[in-house]
């Protein structure tokens, strides 16, 4: 019986690629993720170049047609003050995208770090952090925001136009009250992960606690955080509108997708499709971010072989 001979030239060594190249290649294989990226880039470009693309000004009112249907002059029709909906959608993309991306990224990053530390250290650290989280979760949103709006109203960030400084202040408040969800998610994952064999191996090898948390716990606990992030992206756009309704947040006439959606409520029965345009923008954004998140998760997954 011939014994199979193992020759060294039969073994091809893998070319060492930089991790970023591998991740990018994996990401590009995910067609819908790429489509999502394209949509996001498209929205961002539309937001940046709004002044050049928009056929009308944001605040430009036409006296005659209020709530007009789509026509050659106004491709998406006009709103309650006769302003061009298409132009306002373009401008609204700026603040809406900015707020939702900043708020979600910041609160997920904070939540992930806090949750990972809480879960990994356990004991008193965990108890203290979790009691704070519970405390924050019991605070009622509506009175809290009313309270903050009273304190922060009229406050501005120097050197910024009023709507952008409002956007920053709102983002800050939403981050302060938005990090608990991902904290709970990551902590739950880490509680289970820290008892697994690979974590024990890392400890046995003498990894520092910080590096175990950052390199072993967080990457393995990231999947639900990405879902939470993508779900939150659509939610914050709408939440911002609820805030401006309370007199806190971006005030009319500055458009955001959220407050455009809110304004439609009065005309819901007569022209329900008015909700369609801002709704579609929010839907497309969150769908695109979601597919991108999916692709990113797959691309970052060390267990997945390509």
């Amino acid at each position: 019986m011939a014994v199979a001979e193992l020759k060294s030239e039969n073994l091809t060594t893998f070319k060492q690629e930089k991790p970023i190249v591998v991740i990018a290649r994996r990401f590009l294989k995910h067609k819908l993720a790429v489509a999502g990226l394209v949509v996001i880039v498209f929205f961002v470009l539309a937001a940046i170049f709004a002044p050049w693309i928009a056929p009308y000004g944001v605040y430009k009112q036409n006296l005659a047609p209020v709530y007009s249907n789509p026509s050659g002059q106004h491709i998406l029709g006009t709103d309650e003050l006769g302003r061009d909906i298409f132009s306002r959608l373009l401008y609204a993309a700026r603040l809406s995208l900015f707020i939702t991306v900043v708020v979600n990224l910041a609160s997920e990053v904070t939540g992930t770090l806090v949750g990972a530390f809480s879960g990994y250290f356990g004991g008193r650290v965990d108890a203290a952090i979790q009691r704070v989280v519970e405390f924050m979760l019991t605070l009622p949103q509506l009175p809290l925001l009313l309270f903050f709006s009273a304190i922060l109203r009229g406050m501005t960030v120097p050197g910024l136009p009023p709507e952008w400084s409002q956007a920053l202040i709102i983002s800050f408040v939403l981050i302060v009250f938005g990090w608990m969800g991902s904290t709970r998610l990551v902590r739950g994952m880490v509680l289970s992960l820290r008892e697994q064999d690979f974590a024990q191996a890392a400890r046995a090898l003498g990894c520092s606690k910080l590096s175990i948390i950052l390199r072993h716990m967080i990457p393995n606990a990231l999947a639900p955080v990405i879902v939470n992030l993508t779900l939150g992206l659509g939610y914050v756009i709408v939440l911002e509108a609820a805030l401006s309704f309370l007199g806190f947040g971006i005030q009319p006439p500055v458009p955001t997708w959220g407050n455009m959606l809110q304004n439609v409520q009065q005309r819901m029965w007569e022209q329900p499709w008015l909700a369609f345009y801002p709704g579609l923008c929010i839907f497309l954004t969150s769908l695109a971010f979601n597919y991108m998140g999916d692709g990113l998760r797959d691309a970052l997954d060390p267990r997945l072989k390509m």
Partner: protein, 385 residues
């Protein structure tokens, strides 16, 4: 374990007390309130409300006590407060005289004194149901909210978990894409809009379902019918009498569907990703290599480990089941807790709002404990000590 639970219980009580204190101060300090709007008129000669009136109202409601004494009275009751020396009483703004910490009604008759939350007395409603005990007001809404929320929660769990598992096992299949897009429509659609669309399509005898398709139409709102069902309605078709349980269930269908859509969307996503994560682990491959059937691999080996994120999310549905769904209840005119809470905040009925928020806070800490206990059930490696 018993030790841990005892320690945890003490921490829970502390959290609830601190958060109820914070909420009380928050309500007290936030702009608006029962006296706002009266003050502006007091300076006006023609106004009927004088400064004396305002002071009388504030003493009647107990606002003159300030947040600190107010909170103590809310928590422990006011019947014992006559032992507090006069030097610690709040001073009247007009006369400078000390005013009793007990409310007018309590001084007149001991039976009217509040006993405080610790003794199960949430006080008396100011606005929403003026004069009635808050506990009774909450209980009157509880049934409706429980029907709606448990229905929606159970339905969404029953649908979301299988959908999530299917999408994970058949990742990137056509159905997976359908479910994904569907669930994102669920989260991106604002509830007020979706609710109204559902009413427009299915509700009432002007709806296309009835007029064009000649199918029985659904009720557009409320919990029960107020009169005999009209021709064409689902109630008449099924021979349902107004006010019966069948009537309530028929009214619950549309709001339950709208809410379920919302929950399902998020939960199925969490299920899908955590399942995907688990399915690629070595022990799942080992289970398959042993020759176990795919069904067993998925439901016995993989699912259990994929449940942790879902547990984290779903336990916090418990305060939600009590608290109701604000927007859905408003759209469907469903007199539940969420509806009551919004009315209480809007009309500054703080005793009602406080009671609602207090019960919610208690349920939040219980949910958190329950979540931790469930972690140890699905993953016995997790220990709290």
């Amino acid at each position: 374990m018993v030790n841990y639970l005892i320690r945890r219980l003490i921490q829970m009580i502390l959290v609830v007390i601190i958060s109820s204190m914070a909420i009380y101060f928050l309500l007290y300090l936030s702009p608006g309130g029962p006296l706002s709007g009266l003050g502006g008129q007091a300076g006006d000669r023609r106004a009927r409300v004088t400064a004396q009136d305002i002071e009388r109202i504030s003493q009647y409601l107990g606002l003159h006590r300030g947040p600190v004494w107010g909170y103590i009275a809310w928590l422990t009751g006011e019947d014992w407060m006559d032992i507090i020396p006069q030097s610690m009483w709040p001073k009247s703004h007009l006369t400078g005289q000390p005013v009793s910490l007990q409310l007018t009604a309590c001084i007149e008759n001991d039976d009217n004194c509040g006993h405080g939350v610790l003794r199960g007395d949430f006080g008396v409603s100011w606005q929403v149901a003026r004069g009635s005990p808050v506990g009774a007001v909450l209980l009157s809404r509880l049934r409706n909210t429980l029907i709606l929320m448990t229905g929606a929660t159970v339905l969404s769990l029953l649908i979301a978990i299988p959908i999530g598992i299917y999408s994970a096992v058949h990742q990137y299949s056509r159905l997976d894409y359908v479910f994904t897009t569907f669930s994102f429509m669920g989260t991106a659609m604002p509830v007020f809009w979706f609710g109204l669309m559902v009413i427009m399509v299915f509700g009432g005898n002007q709806s296309p379902v009835y007029k064009l398709l000649h199918m029985p139409y659904m009720p557009t709102g409320n919990v029960t019918l107020v009169r005999a069902p009209l021709p064409g309605s689902l109630e008449l078709l099924l021979g349902v009498q107004p006010g019966t349980w069948a009537d309530i269930l028929i009214h619950a269908i549309l709001p339950t569907l709208v809410l379920s859509m919302l929950y399902m969307a998020g939960w199925s996503r969490f299920m899908r990703t955590s399942m995907l994560e688990v399915l690629r682990q070595d022990y799942v491959r080992a289970a398959r290599a042993k020759g176990l059937r795919e069904r067993v691999v998925i439901y016995k080996h993989a699912l259990r480990n994929a449940l942790i994120p879902l547990i984290t999310i779903v336990v916090f549905q418990i305060p939600g089941i009590f608290g109701g769904a604000t927007i859905t209840e408003t759209v469907f005119n469903w007199p539940g807790m969420g509806f009551l809470y919004v009315a209480a905040i809007g009309r500054t009925d703080y005793p009602v709002a406080m009671a609602f928020l207090f019960v919610t806070a208690v349920l939040v800490v219980i949910a958190s404990l329950l979540g931790d206990m469930l972690y140890t059930v699905v993953d016995p490696r997790i220990r709290f000590n």
